[in-house]
C-alpha cells in the first residue's frame, strides 16, 4: 500500500469506512509528511494536537457508522480562514498574534463533518498575489521543480497547492478572487474549483474583495473536489450573499458521459504571443472532449480583454474598504508610538508597518479610484464593463454552450524571485484566463492535463453555468480521465 498521506480523499474515505485505516493513523501519516515537508513552506501554523483530537473523535464516529464523507480526512486550511483559537493571519504582519474567538462557516461545516485540521497554509498577503511571494512568512515552494531551481506554487492559495501536490495533506481549502485557486492548482498539477459566487459562505473568511471572493476545495482529483465542495457549500444566514439554493450531490454528477454536450472555445483567449506549449495542451484538451462525444464550437467573449483592467479597479476599491478595519485598535499589530503621537499617527504607522508593499499599493489604488472626482471615471466605468463581461458569458450559454474550455494560466510555474524586477502589472497578467469568471460570478475548475517540455504541469480551465458545478465537474472528470495525468513531483524535500 502507498503511504496513507498519498491517498486521494475518495480513497481515504473508502478505506476509513471499510476499517482498513483509522483516522488516527491517517492523521499521523499526514503529520509526519507535514513535518518532513518544511522546505516547501506550505504550513505556517501547525495544529498537531488539535488534529489528533479530531482524528480520535472521527474514529469513534466511524466505528459508530455515523461518518459523513469528510469524517477523519486530514486537511490543510488556508490562513485566510478564521479558525477558533488558532492563528489566522491572512499571511499579514498586521494580524500578528490574532487568534479568532470564532470559527468560519466553511471550517465549521468541515469540522462538523468530522474533518481533521493539520494546520494553516501559506498564501499571498490578504490573498493579493499570484506567486505566494507577498506572504509575511516567506513564500511557499512548488514541489515540482526544474533542476535545482525553486519555483512558485502560484498564488494566492500557494501553500494549499503545494501541500496537496506534495502529499502533506489529503486536500486543502483555498479561496479565489481572481484565480487564486485555479492558477496555483495548475502550477502544482492538482485540481481546484472556484464555485459559483454565493455557493460557499464567506463568513469568517478574511475579506479581500467581497463581490469576487469565493472559497473552494483544492484536491488530488476531480472526484475529491466534488466530495469536498459538497461539504463546504450551502446557504448561510451569516453571509447575505450566500444563495438559498440546495446543494446537490456533486459526486453523483460524475457519470463520465458528456455525449452531445457543446464545449465552447473562446477565440479571444487565443492571445497574441500565447506560448506554443499552452496552445498545444489546449488543442489536446478540446480533442479529448471531442473524442468523448462532445461537440467543439468556437465562441466569442468580446470583452475579455477588459477583464483585467476592470478587476484591478474593482478589487482594490473593495480591498481599500475591507482593509480599513486594520487600524491597530481591535486586533493584530499596533505600531510603537512616539511621544506626542495621536490617533492618526497610530493608524498611519500601524498600517505602514503591518501591510506589505503589494497590499499597500492596492489599498492606495482603491482609495484613489474611489476618491471624489474619480469614482465615475474608474469605479463606475469598471462596474459597467463588468456587466458587459458577464453578458458575454450569458450570450454564449444562451446559444447552447454547456461549458467553455480555456488554458488555466498563460505559463507554467515560474521561478521564485523571477518576477521581482517586473512591474506589478506584469504579475497581474497571470490571472488573464481566470479573472473573467470572478467578475461574472461563474464556476470554474482547473484540471491538470499534461507536462510541458521541462516536465512541469499544465492545467486547463473549464467554465460552467451558474449553479451547475455538478455538470462542470463531470466535464472536468472526463478531461481528467482522458488526460490520465498521474505524474507526481519527484520528492526532493
Amino acid at each position: 500500500m502507498t503511504n496513507a498521506n498519498e491517498l486521494t480523499l475518495a480513497e481515504a474515505r473508502d478505506a476509513l469506512r471499510k476499517g482498513d485505516l483509522t483516522a488516527t493513523d491517517l492523521t499521523m501519516a499526514c503529520l509526519t509528511a507535514m513535518d518532513a515537508g518544511d522546505e516547501l513552506g506550505a504550513y505556517v501554523h501547525k495544529t498537531p494536537d488539535l488534529a489528533l483530537d479530531q482524528a480520535r473523535a472521527a474514529d469513534l464516529r466511524l466505528k459508530a457508522g455515523d461518518a459523513p464523507d469528510l469524517c477523519g480526512i486530514p486537511l490543510g486550511i488556508k490562513d485566510l480562514f478564521c479558525t477558533k483559537g488558532v492563528p489566522s493571519q491572512a499571511a499579514s504582519n498586521i494580524l500578528a498574534g490574532f487568534r479568532p474567538e470564532y470559527e468560519s462557516t466553511v471550517t465549521s461545516k468541515l469540522f462538523d463533518a468530522g474533518a481533521v485540521m493539520l494546520g494553516k497554509l501559506n498564501m499571498d498577503e490578504f490573498a493579493m498575489g499570484s506567486s505566494n511571494e507577498s506572504s509575511c512568512y516567506g513564500p511557499a515552494v512548488n514541489p515540482w521543480r526544474v533542476d535545482d531551481r525553486e519555483l512558485t506554487p502560484g498564488g494566492s492559495s500557494g501553500g494549499s497547492a503545494s501541500a496537496v501536490a506534495g502529499d502533506l495533506c489529503i486536500a486543502a481549502t483555498g479561496t479565489d478572487t481572481g484565480g487564486s485557486i485555479r492558477q496555483p492548482a495548475a502550477f502544482c498539477g492538482i485540481v481546484g474549483i472556484k464555485p459559483t459566487y454565493g455557493r460557499v459562505s464567506r463568513w469568517g473568511i478574511i475579506a479581500y474583495a467581497s463581490s469576487l471572493d469565493q472559497a473552494g476545495p483544492m484536491t488530488k482529483s476531480v472526484r475529491d473536489a466534488a466530495i469536498m465542495l459538497g461539504a463546504m457549500a450551502g446557504h448561510d444566514p451569516k453571509d447575505s450573499t450566500s444563495a438559498e439554493i440546495a446543494v446537490p450531490d456533486f459526486e453523483a454528477a460524475l457519470t463520465g458521459d458528456i455525449r452531445g454536450k457543446k464545449i465552447g472555445i473562446p477565440k479571444e483567449y487565443r492571445l497574441p504571443g500565447l506560448r506554443p506549449e499552452i496552445q498545444k495542451i489546449w488543442d489536446k484538451g478540446a480533442e479529448m472532449l471531442r473524442d468523448a462525444g462532445a461537440e467543439i464550437v468556437e465562441v466569442s467573449l468580446p470583452h475579455t480583454k477588459y477583464a483585467l483592467p476592470a478587476y484591478y479597479v474593482i478589487a482594490p476599491a473593495e480591498a481599500s474598504s475591507n482593509l480599513a478595519r486594520y487600524d491597530g485598535v481591535r486586533y493584530g499589530h499596533r505600531a510603537k508610538l512616539a511621544a506626542g503621537d495621536g490617533i492618526t499617527e497610530m493608524y498611519e504607522k500601524t498600517r505602514a508597518e503591518g501591510f506589505g508593499a503589494e497590499v499597500q499599493r492596492r489599498v492606495m489604488i482603491g482609495t484613489y479610484v474611489l476618491s471624489a472626482g474619480f469614482y465615475d471615471a474608474y469605479y463606475n466605468r469598471a462596474r459597467k464593463v463588468r456587466a458587459l463581461i458577464k453578458r458575454d458569458f450569458e450570450q454564449a450559454f444562451a446559444a447552447g454552450v454547456d461549458a467553455i474550455l480555456t488554458p488555466a494560466t498563460p505559463t507554467p510555474a515560474f521561478g521564485l524571485g523571477e518576477m521581482h524586477s517586473a512591474n506589478p502589472v506584469e504579475m497581474y497578467l497571470n490571472d488573464v484566463f481566470t479573472v473573467t469568471l470572478n467578475l461574472a460570478g461563474l464556476p470554474g475548475v482547473s484540471v491538470p492535463v499534461g507536462l510541458d517540455p521541462d516536465g512541469l504541469p499544465l492545467g486547463l480551465q473549464l467554465i460552467g453555468k451558474p449553479w451547475e458545478e455538478g455538470a462542470l465537474l463531470n466535464h472536468a472528470y472526463v478531461l481528467e480521465r482522458a488526460a490520465g495525468f498521474v505524474s507526481k513531483p519527484a520528492k526532493w524535500w
Binding site: 477588459y306 476592470a310 484591478y312 498600517r351
Partner: protein
C-alpha cells in the same frame, strides 16, 4: 492620468498609510503605471449599460431586527493590542 508626488502623498494620507517623503516619487510612478493599465477601460462603449451591483440577481435578505448575540465583552476585547477596563484603549483623540 499620471499621478504626481503631491497626489501620491494625498492618497497615502487618505489611506492612512505612512509613506516617507523619499518614497513618494517611486510610489507615484507605480500608481501611475497601474492607472495607465486601467485606461484601457476607456475604449469600451458603456453607453446605456447599468453598473453591475451583484453577481447573481437576488435581493439582499433581511432578517428580524433582534439581538442574536452579545454578552461577550471579553471575547471582543481578547485580541486588542490595548484594552483597559472593558474598553479598547487608543491615544488621546480629543484635546
Amino acid at each position: 492620468m499620471s499621478i504626481d508626488v503631491e497626489t501620491a502623498r494625498r492618497v497615502a494620507k487618505l489611506a492612512r498609510i505612512q509613506v516617507d517623503d523619499g518614497d513618494l516619487p517611486a510610489l507615484a510612478g507605480e500608481l501611475s503605471n497601474i492607472l495607465g493599465f486601467m485606461e484601457q477601460l476607456n475604449e469600451v462603449d458603456v453607453e446605456g449599460v447599468e453598473p453591475m451591483t451583484s453577481v447573481t440577481p437576488m435581493r439582499l435578505k433581511r432578517r428580524a431586527d433582534v439581538v442574536t448575540d452579545g454578552n461577550i465583552q471579553d471575547k471582543v476585547l481578547k485580541n486588542a493590542p490595548d484594552a483597559r477596563e472593558g474598553f479598547f484603549a487608543v491615544p488621546k483623540v480629543v484635546e
